[in-house]
Symmetry: C2
Subunit: 304 residues, 2 copies
């Protein structure tokens, strides 16, 4: 048993999401980005910021960083566009917000929070979500803002593979953060560009509350990353919370069970923080870009 | 303890969804529609049809019936259109499909099934889902197909209320079905037009797997109806399954707990069937249009 932490935070930048050629020689660059986002979050929590503010800020930093598949740096759809999904949830009143398939919102996580706080709704999709963003004064950008050379080349490779009948590269980039603040409140947020070469308005687990994101002060805050369809069918994030609530598992037991027993090898990873400030980081892919910090002085980022 | 049923089915046509003036003197008409859909489902299961085929057929019948808020008869959005959501899930392999904000698909539940069986994805939204429907040969109709005088008048009343600053009428119409077949497989499906006067691409619980729909052969099949935002934040359908799996509750205990302890009075209702063929029908609204039948000869429909 460890003593209760006053605050704690974990973040991820996707599980198994980076092709080897993309990572080669760039590990330090990725670690520096994770470290900067983690430091920003830890500083906020140390200073007494709410977990909700903190996960939004951390996810915004990762959305703004072109190295991660969310916001700037999001992957391309089949028709060469970007469709972004995000969600956020706070554990005190179980308030939540989610958006899917938005194309001009610079920081989808902030739009998700505005849905949560500024409407009676939870989930807005597509053109309607765009219209709401404009009416709510959330920052919008020209779609060209999301263009990056590297992701464009990824799309070309995926199109060639698809034309050759090869299986798609599992695209599992996502960013997320979970936090416990000094007031004892938990929060979680997740954001993604989805899968390279996605079609037909495909949406993964990220905006599905209970699949990619969940938070409940009585149990934990959870953010997932991986094959979205698998996280949806297993209600992965809600399952972690349910195991703590209904089965009495610890946070680490619950996250391990979902990542290693419920999901299959290669499906993805989960980060979570419990009401006592304990942190779980588990993945069943080769890599999960991740970081964790807490009030005891823990501060670490890693990829493998 | 009752013995295991060889097959069982339950359906709903929404909880608390019909304004008194709409129901007045029309109860027999609604009951006749519920009975016809229930009989079709019971006949299929008795004859050995799969639970997946059965819930799709039953939900299609309710979608085609203009008295219910799904398919033909769906409510109007704020801008006088129709945006339909649906999902379907089977309990053997946890396969699932969902669509949100579609405007020209005659039977959204069938599109959800096509997503499940014809793509590697689970969830398609908006224009992309429409494009997929056309490429998959799913029946599309002119948007005017969904026009009904009664729902148009409902929208006018809601617009007047909104202009007067009054609270919106809780719009909770949804249709759904859950079934156990002779092979021991469970399935669930749900479909809705959402809330009258909805804006901004608002989506409720119906296409959110784990909120409005869930199925797992080890536990149960669930379909919810009510205030979608509440069902999402409590991961209502997955919660019923989790209580059976992790807490060892019976189906009836689990459904009662979610409807009466987790959700609040007025939020909605849940129908579910367990692997042993037991059925639970619980609601915390004034009415829930519902029906239940099984291999022991049970066959009942009710509103109050």
């Amino acid at each position: 048993m460890t003593e209760r932490r006053e605050w704690a935070i974990a973040l991820h930048g996707g599980a198994g999401s980076v092709p080897p050629e993309r990572l080669a020689g760039r590990e330090q660059e990725f670690l520096a980005s994770l470290e900067a986002a983690l430091r920003a979050g830890a500083d906020l929590l140390r200073g007494g910021a709410s977990s909700l503010d903190t996960v939004e800020v951390v996810v915004r930093l990762l959305e703004d960083d072109p190295k991660f598949n969310a916001g700037k740096g999001a992957v391309y759809t089949h028709d060469g566009r970007h469709e972004l999904d995000a969600s956020i949830m706070e554990g005190r009143a179980l308030r939540c917000g989610a958006v899917a398939a938005v194309r001009t919102v610079k920081n989808p996580v902030t739009l998700a929070r505005r849905v949560m706080e500024g409407t009676p709704h939870v989930f807005l999709v597509g053109d309607g979500a765009e219209t709401f963003a404009r009416s709510a004064g959330v920052e919008v950008v020209d779609p060209s803002y999301f263009a990056t050379e590297e992701r464009w080349e990824e799309l070309q490779r995926e199109l060639e593979k698809a034309a050759a009948g090869a299986s798609p590269t599992p695209g599992m980039g996502t960013v997320g953060a979970v936090a416990l603040d000094r007031a004892g409140d938990l929060a979680a947020a997740t954001s993604t560009g989805g899968r390279t070469n996605k079609r037909f308005g495909r949406v993964g687990d990220v905006p599905v509350i209970g699949a990619g994101t969940y938070a409940d002060n009585r149990t934990c805050a959870v953010s997932g990353t991986g094959k979205g369809e698998e996280l949806i069918r297993h209600a992965a994030a809600a399952n972690v919370s349910a195991r703590i609530e209904h089965r009495g598992e610890t946070l680490v037991e619950a996250v391990r069970a979902v990542v290693h027993d419920v999901l299959r090898a290669g499906d993805g990873g989960i980060i979570a923080v419990a009401a006592d400030g304990s942190i779980a980081l588990e993945w069943n892919t080769e890599t999960m870009f991740r970081g964790a910090a807490d009030s005891s002085g823990r501060f670490e980022v890693a990829i493998r």
